[in-house]
């Protein structure tokens, strides 16, 4: 019997440590021989904490939303009695059936701190194969044949990047793993580093072999302490096993990896800023060329690959390019991991073959919108990605198709929006994020995004001028064009895509001073329907600013001037008497 508890950051946040502790104590008290395995993220974040029980005959049961007090029952009834606790089991609900797991093949299944478990599932076979059977050039060829493109966002062909660095003649080259996952709501890289760290190291070693690098850096943001801890342990274990360090696996190839904890600046995900950060300078981008493959870290040729990109490499080397390229579309091969979030029933970590449509991801895997609200759009590609409306839900998820909609693949954030979401407000939210993360280097990004944000705020508040939107779009194009790095160049995207597909919502704000989704506070008003009000005074008691008082009869009234539009009365009223207009 195999028992495992998901102990990635998501599980821990949901209380998995307590569940794990209770489970261990409970088993010990009963002197049961079963050990409990600590595994990484399974992906079903919406059901955390999770306990997986696998029997020798292959029977598999998954308990979700387990509370510490439930553990006793599971142990007694299932582990001792052999009878699953039906009401605590979670249904797969289609969540896994449509997924294809390459990057996440081990996540949630193996103990991330165990090199043996990784090796037991084919780990380091790819590296061994590369070192034993292939020249660096052949490794690059293999990756090229796989069609793998960088998963950090831009989708540059990984093999091409490698070949640029490989042809540089320099005594020491660098390979950097970019784990500076800064998008709000994104946790793909963290989950992989926490759940399967050796996979990333193996990918780095293979890449290093391919380009001739001797030094590797894993740049991981300091906000991911567990990822750093697990990666540190993995590096130590790999060194011990001669999988890193001098003469790896007895070959002539030597390569070692150091961890650099980033201090959490969004822009450090940009490769030139990341280089500056590792060098000990302020994380600020610089103009390319020269590209890092020519002159990167400390002037050395440097390849920078995203965590997910590197996590694909061992699989490709193990299963061959052909197997990999059998997934995906013509120009986008393999799979993509998404952090599915927002107003969706099954929020979590999913890996899907390229080319799956947005609709399939949202409905078949995600289970549709939460509470059955209308599906309005997805926001994809991180804070500077774009919004794709439900009318385009059949767009396949591949690099080119997404760009056509004005959005980008990005690193893998996928946020589902329902019809209670104001698209202008969404644009404002993301622009606000990007503006606050601007490194401040170039005028168009530092001041331009701020001025865009102020303009958008005016629209949200009904204070905008007649031609405000046109001016905003025109100016947004300038910010895109004249900003130095990807941050500024994509910062206007939320505005540009939402204004393209949701023009009517902008028009309502601009012309009628109305927020159709009832989100923009300056434009909404709460009112109590006298007919429905039963005078229970719940709203009056809970109003944080005492804006509600006794009306002229057996009902309450809201003073609009005092009301701060927090919406609590609207949520609380048992009789739906509070209306929004």
């Amino acid at each position: 019997m195999n028992v495992s508890v998901g102990l990635a950051t998501c599980g821990i946040a949901a209380g998995a440590e307590a569940v794990y502790a209770r489970l261990v104590t409970s088993l010990a008290e009963r002197r049961l021989p079963t050990t409990v395995k600590r595994v990484g993220c399974v992906g079903m974040c919406y059901n955390e904490p999770l306990i997986d029980i696998t029997t020798k005959d292959g029977g598999h049961h998954r308990y979700g939303r387990v509370r510490a007090e439930d553990v006793e029952r599971i142990v007694v009834q299932h582990l001792v009695g052999g009878e699953p606790v039906q009401e605590l089991l979670v249904s797969e609900d289609g969540f896994f059936t449509r997924q294809v797991r390459i990057v996440l093949e081990n996540c949630g299944l193996i103990d991330p701190e165990s090199l043996d478990e990784y090796r037991a599932r084919g780990g380091y076979e790819g590296l061994a194969r590369a070192l034993a059977e292939m020249t660096p050039q052949q490794v690059i060829e293999e990756v090229k044949a796989s069609g793998l493109r960088g998963r950090g966002g831009a989708g540059f062909l990984t093999a091409t990047k490698w070949s640029f660095a490989a042809r540089e003649r320099a005594p020491d080259k660098m390979l950097v793993c970019n784990g500076d996952e800064g998008d709000p709501g994104a946790f793909m890289d963290r989950s992989v580093l926490e759940g399967d760290p050796h996979r990333v190291l193996e990918g780095m070693a293979i890449g290093a072999y391919a380009i001739g690098a001797t030094h590797g850096y894993a740049y991981v943001r300091a906000e991911y302490p567990l990822a750093i801890e697990r990666l540190e342990k993995a590096i130590a274990a790999a060194r011990e096993a001669h999988l890193l360090g001098e003469r790896i696996l007895g070959s002539g190839f030597s390569f070692d990896v150091a961890i650099k904890a980033g201090a959490g600046a969004f822009v450090c995900g940009e490769e030139t800023a990341l280089i500056a950060s590792i060098e000990g300078k302020r994380g600020m981008p610089r103009r390319r060329p020269p590209y890092p493959t020519t002159s990167g870290l400390w002037g050395r040729p440097t390849v920078i690959n995203n965590v997910e990109t590197l996590a694909n490499i061992p699989w490709i080397l193990r299963h061959g390019a052909k197997a990999f390229s059998s997934y995906g579309t013509e120009r986008s091969k393999g799979t993509k991991v998404f952090a599915l979030a927002g107003k969706v029933r099954h929020s979590g970590l999913v890996e899907v073959p390229m080319g799956m449509t947005i609709r399939e991801i949202v409905f078949d895997i995600g289970g549709g919108t939460r509470d059955g609200k209308g599906f309005k759009a997805v926001q994809i590609g991180g804070p500077s990605g774009g919004c794709i409306p439900s009318s385009l839900a059949d767009v396949p998820v591949d690099y080119e198709s997404l760009v056509e909609t004005g959005a980008i693949m990005g690193s893998g954030g996928l946020i589902v929006l329902d019809d209670e979401t104001c698209m202008v407000d969404v644009a404002r939210y993301f622009l606000d994020f990007v503006q606050k993360e601007s490194c401040g280097k170039c005028t168009f990004c530092r001041i331009g995004t701020k001025r865009m944000l102020e303009s958008l705020t005016r629209i949200c508040e009904g204070q905008a001028a007649q031609n405000e939107l046109e001016a905003l779009i025109e100016f947004g194009q300038k910010v895109k064009r004249y900003s130095l790095c990807g941050l500024g160049q994509t910062a206007p995207n939320p505005v540009l895509t939402t204004s393209r597909f949701f023009r009517d919502e902008y028009a309502a704000h601009l012309d009628e001073h109305r927020c159709p989704a009832h989100v923009c506070r300056a434009l909404i008003h709460y009112r109590i329907d006298v007919g429905r009000c039963r005078d229970c005074k719940l709203c009056t008691k809970k109003c944080p600013v005492q804006a509600i008082s006794q009306g002229d009869g057996a009902f309450q009234v809201i003073d609009d001037a005092t009301c701060v539009k927090c919406g609590r009365c609207h949520e609380l009223c048992p009789f739906q008497a509070v209306e929004v207009s």
């Binding site: 606050k436 993360e437 401040g440 005028t443 001041i447 701020k450």
Partner: protein, 1103 residues
């Protein structure tokens, strides 16, 4: 590679950017963040250019390509540039010039002269006034002072008394005559001698043109003379100021009336251009019955009669009708004639166009006010005026002028009994004199002319003042006169007439919090005669500031205008691009300046985050004391943890200030009150070490302001940059002092010389002559001659070249500049930290980056290729002389020296002991081509040695035989043992810039000029001759050579120098004779008092 920029085909070098090529080829591409020393930063976006086929790109970071076609001024490129600038301006909190200056129609530099007055620099203040206004004393009396309305000080309490400051400066009675350009041969006629005409004449004359002013009245001055009563502007004040114009060569012709005595056509024929400043001398009427009664007169006629000295009488009861300044002047003049005066005005007090304080003063003087009163008929009984029938009015809706329109209250008629009435309801221009001139007039009867240039429809004719604008305030006429002079100047020279665009950024919606931490300080009160007194005569009733009051009032100025107002790249580029401040309104941090650094003011609100300061600091200076902090729009340049900059690794070199393209970083000048100025700038040589860096000294009227590097993109150490400033203020000795009754008291030069003559020993070798190491060659030469032929002594020394401690090395060991250039190894010994010898540090690093290997025994040069702990330098040096060293680091250096063909041993002299000097010398001798580079604490020890100062041990003075000492510049008594010795002497003569320990025991003290205050030459580390200029003027007014020559003459020398040139030539010849004869070089191993003084001054400032 061929690249075309703006149609010019240029040869580009592979790899360079568009901007580099353009700058190299003299094509101007504006750029704020780019700098030749730094890699492209790609930040500001101002260098936008359009490349054919590629659209708009940033020139600073776009590499050129073969056949590239670039346009710097295409509409697209200019659009992007303007957008970038407008974004920067939207987040820029500052004022280019003060609101006072913007508020003044003539843009007089109010902040400038007010602040100069605060510093007591009254003449400089007056000169600045004359840059914009030829009538400072007159306008200091009569101007309505819109500058004061704009003054921000009133947010705290009251505006600065800018008008009164003008009066004070104008009244100083300086014999100042504004400078003018050489004669051009052009001749301009000006018709009308009022403020517009005279101002145009003044500025045209300054440009070198001949000017004749014609006026119909008997005297010049126009309305200033004939429209303003004497109690406000005494006519002798005006006469004095008109006298300045005449002394400048302007011809005045009075009693000549246009249209009668001469015609416009005559003028056009005879002159190169004509300016018409004709004024508005016609009065409006009320068009009511009996207006033409003899007892009803016009206000300006009344005032003119008074001003021409006519005896004017008035009956007892007089009504003055109107609400403007002429009405006030008429009321107050009538009071002075003894009349009971009633002012009749149809609106209320708030609507009166007169200056409020004039209204108040009229009231004080007993004028009765009848507001909301409209005369409808003058009542006449027989031949006598008996009263005015009036209607009561009330205020209705605003009219076209924005003031409430008076409306009659029905049935409210009443009568004011009067014996006479004066009408002052408006003035107009009388176009009759120009009836057939072909000039155009508008419906109101005013002349039509370009509002900017004053150009009329007739090519040679320009016009300005009241005749063009309708009646306005006099300062507007001055402004029009100056603009027209600018235009006429271009016109007569055949140039297209262009008025310079001037971007002026302003702080908007300023609140008390934006003023920072200032104390409430009300305006300085001057004496004003009481109303009872002043109505008795027509004399002025205000008095001037005293000098102290002027300084005090000036000190109140908040200094709104930017210290970089005259040299701000952001402002220049914004002007050229016609950028607007409010194109992108939005959040703006209202940051107050950071004043924590003693010499650098950081006006944080003006930072455009171009990063030049911090990139120069790290990439050029290698210091990295500052960097960006924060994110997004709030990014700011800071030292770590936002400490004061000098509390970081900052070496106070000021390179960041030079790099700043705006006023965000500026050097604080050496005046108590900071003034943005166009200062004079003079190149000279720094004297604070023997590297003798070229420096640029900014001065104003002989007063030192700041110093900086003379070479473009040069960098100085803290001493060269700020040492002069830290050291030079304080109480200077301004004249000779002699000791009487144990006290030093001021004396005449003769008295001082007499005292020296009386007490100087007559015997040989009884006097000790000793000089500071920064005297010039010429000063040294004079002192040497003085010692030899007058003091009759062989004891001639440089401070601290004490025979017993000085180390003597063979002269051939000292490196020349060529040796430096050819060296293949530099070993550094000496500086304890970078800070101590930052320029040396830069030189070494520059050599290193060019491929010369470096080694160091000092902590002061951490970047060396090879380094060893210099803890015990003597030991380390002796190790280096051995066949093999025990220390691996030293051994590495030793072998590197051995393998070098031309090694140089660079050392900071003062940091080394005699033993260490010996060790270094041994090291140099041991190598066939080893050479020494001694970096000395002051600039001219080398030059003085060559001038004949001789510290050889066998020449050491026999202390017991000494009875007198002449100490020039050095503070010998800092050394207690020397103080004891000096105290025993019969005569100590100290030449010193300020009192010190040596002057404290001297019998005679003579004022000494600082090295920046006199001409001369010095010899630098490598033996090169460097020139020293007289940048500032010593308080005593004399240069040191003059003092020494006078002293020699007073002591009976049979030589003297008729001129500086003669001296300089003699000194140079003597030096040349000695050159080559030198066999030894003296290394003192100690430092001079003056170097220590500067360091202490800096330390006191917190650096």
């Amino acid at each position: 590679m061929t690249v075309t920029i703006n149609g010019r085909v240029l040869a580009g070098r592979s790899g360079e950017t568009i901007l580099t090529l353009a700058r190299r080829s003299g094509v101007d591409i504006p750029a704020l963040c780019a700098e030749s020393r730094l890699d492209p930063f790609d930040s500001c976006g101002v260098c936008a250019v359009e490349v054919e086929g590629a659209g708009v790109v940033k020139a600073c970071s776009t590499p050129i390509k073969e056949g590239m076609v670039v346009s710097t001024a295409s509409p697209a490129a200019e659009g992007v540039r303007r957008t970038a600038l407008e974004l920067l301006l939207s987040y820029h909190f500052g004022d280019c010039v003060g609101p006072c200056q913007l508020g003044c129609p003539a843009h007089t530099d109010c902040q400038g002269y007010v602040s100069l007055a605060a510093n007591g620099l009254f003449l400089e203040g007056l000169k600045l006034l004359y840059e914009k206004l030829p009538f400072p004393a007159s306008f200091g009396r009569i101007c309505p002072a819109p500058c004061e309305d704009a003054c921000r000080r009133q947010i705290a309490e009251e505006p600065i008394q800018i008008r009164h400051m003008k009066r004070f400066l104008g009244d100083q009675g300086f014999d100042y005559l504004p400078e003018r350009d050489p004669d051009t041969g052009f001749h301009v006629a000006v018709v009308g001698g009022g403020p517009a005409g005279c101002t145009a004449a003044y500025f045209l004359r300054r440009r070198g043109h001949a000017v004749t002013v014609f006026d119909a009245m008997p005297k010049m001055g126009g309305m200033l003379r004939y429209g303003i009563p004497d109690f406000r502007l005494a006519q002798d004040v005006l006469d004095r100021e008109l006298g300045v114009l005449q002394r400048m060569g302007i011809t005045f012709q009075n009693g000549v009336r246009l249209g009668k005595d001469l015609t416009l056509a005559d003028l056009e024929r005879k002159y190169d251009a004509v300016f018409l400043g004709l004024g508005a001398w016609n009065s409006r009427g009320l068009s009511i019955p009996h207006e033409d009664h003899p007892d009803v007169q016009q206000g300006i006629d009344f005032l003119r009669r008074l001003n021409t000295g006519e005896r004017v009488t008035l009956p007892r009861r007089v009504a003055v009708i109107g609400g403007g300044n002429t009405a006030m002047d008429a009321c107050r003049s009538a009071r002075r004639l003894g009349a009971e005066v009633t002012l009749v005005y149809r609106r209320s007090r708030d609507e009166m166009p007169a200056i409020p304080h004039e209204v108040e003063e009229a009231e004080e003087e007993g004028v009765e006010f009848r507001f909301l009163t409209q005369p409808v008929e003058f009542l006449v009984e027989g031949r006598k005026l008996t009263g005015i029938r009036c209607l009561q009015m009330r205020l209705g809706d605003p009219d076209a002028s924005g003031r409430a329109k008076p409306v009659a209250v029905p049935g409210s008629e009443f009568v004011i009994p009067v014996d006479a009435a004066i009408l002052a309801v408006g003035q107009t221009f009388e176009p009759a004199s120009l009836a057939d001139s072909g000039l155009r007039f508008d419906r109101a009867g005013t002349m039509v002319a370009d509002p900017e240039t004053g150009h009329t429809d007739r090519p040679k004719v320009f016009a300005g003042g009241d005749a063009v604008t309708g009646p306005g305030i006099a300062i507007e006429a001055v402004a029009a006169g100056r603009r027209a002079a600018d235009a006429i100047d271009q016109f007569v020279r055949g140039l297209p007439i262009q008025m310079a665009p001037g971007y002026a950024h302003t702080k908007e919606d300023v609140t008390r919090a934006d003023l920072g931490d200032i104390a409430v300080t009300p305006r300085v009160a001057t004496v004003v005669r009481t109303p009872q007194e002043r109505v008795l005569d027509s004399r002025e009733y205000m008095t001037d500031f005293t000098a102290d009051q002027a300084r005090e009032e000036g000190t109140r100025c908040l200094g709104c205008g930017c210290s970089s107002g005259f040299d701000c790249a952001l402002r220049d580029v914004s002007s050229a691009a016609h950028a607007a401040q409010d194109a992108f309104a939005g959040e703006l941090d209202r940051k107050l300046p950071d004043e924590r650094h003693p010499f650098i003011v950081r006006d944080r609100g003006k930072c455009i985050a171009c990063g030049r300061c911090l990139r120069v600091c790290s990439d050029v200076c290698g210091i990295h004391a500052i960097d960006f902090a924060g994110r997004g729009i709030h990014v700011e340049v800071q030292a770590p943890f936002d400490r004061a900059w000098q509390e970081s690794t900052c070496v106070s070199c000021g390179a960041c200030v030079d790099a700043c393209p705006t006023g965000a970083l500026a050097d604080r000048g050496n005046l108590a009150k900071q003034v943005p100025l166009r200062a004079q700038s003079t190149r000279t040589t720094c004297s604070l070490c023997s590297l003798a860096c070229p420096i640029q000294v900014r001065t104003l009227g002989g007063h030192y302001l700041t110093s900086g590097p003379a070479e473009e993109e040069g960098i100085l150490c803290v001493k060269g940059r700020y040492g002069w400033q830290a050291w030079s203020p304080g109480s200077r000795i301004a004249g000779p002092l002699v000791r009487r009754d144990k006290k030093l008291i001021p004396a005449s030069w003769d008295e001082a010389f007499q005292l020296i003559r009386d007490h100087l020993p007559k015997e040989k070798d009884r006097t000790w002559a000793i000089a500071a190491g920064d005297l010039s060659n010429e000063e040294g030469h004079l002192l040497a001659r003085l010692a030899q032929s007058v003091l009759k002594t062989a004891f001639l020394e440089i401070e601290h070249f004490r025979p017993k401690s000085a180390f003597v090395a063979p002269a051939r060991l000292v490196a020349s500049a060529e040796h430096w250039a050819q060296a293949d190894l530099l070993l550094v010994v000496g500086p304890r930290s970078r800070y101590e010898h930052f320029v040396l540090d830069l030189l070494l690093r520059s050599a290193r980056s060019k491929g010369t290997p470096t080694a160091s025994l000092s902590r002061g040069f951490p970047d060396a290729d090879l380094a060893a702990d210099g803890g015990d330098v003597v030991h380390a040096l002796s190790e280096l002389c051995r066949p093999r060293s025990h220390s691996a680091e030293l051994e590495a250096i030793r072998t590197r020296i051995a393998s070098a063909t031309r090694p140089l041993f660079v050392f900071e002299e003062r940091a080394l002991s005699r033993e260490a000097l010996q060790g270094l010398c041994d090291l140099a001798v041991a190598h066939p081509n080893g050479r020494l580079v001694p970096v000395r604490a002051l600039s001219n020890q080398n030059g003085l040695l060559q001038a004949g100062f001789d510290p050889r041990p066998d020449r050491e003075p026999n202390r017991r035989s000494l009875s007198a000492a002449v100490v020039v510049g050095a503070d010998l008594a800092r050394d207690p043992s020397l103080a004891d010795e000096l105290a025993k002497l019969d005569l100590v003569v100290a030449l010193a810039p300020r009192e010190n320990r040596t002057t404290a025991l001297a019998h005679v003290v003579l004022p000494l000029a600082l090295p920046l205050e006199g001409r001369g030459h010095v010899v630098d580390t490598y033996g090169r001759l460097c020139e020293r200029a007289r940048t500032a003027v010593a308080p005593a007014g004399r240069e040191n050579w003059e003092i020494l020559v006078a002293l020699a003459a007073a002591l009976g020398a049979d030589w003297s120098y008729p001129s500086w040139e003669a001296l300089s030539q003699d000194a140079a010849l003597t030096r040349e004779e000695r050159l080559g004869a030198e066999e030894s070089v003296f290394l003192p191993g100690r430092t001079d008092s003056r170097a220590v003084e500067v360091e202490e001054a800096l330390k006191q400032k917190g650096i």
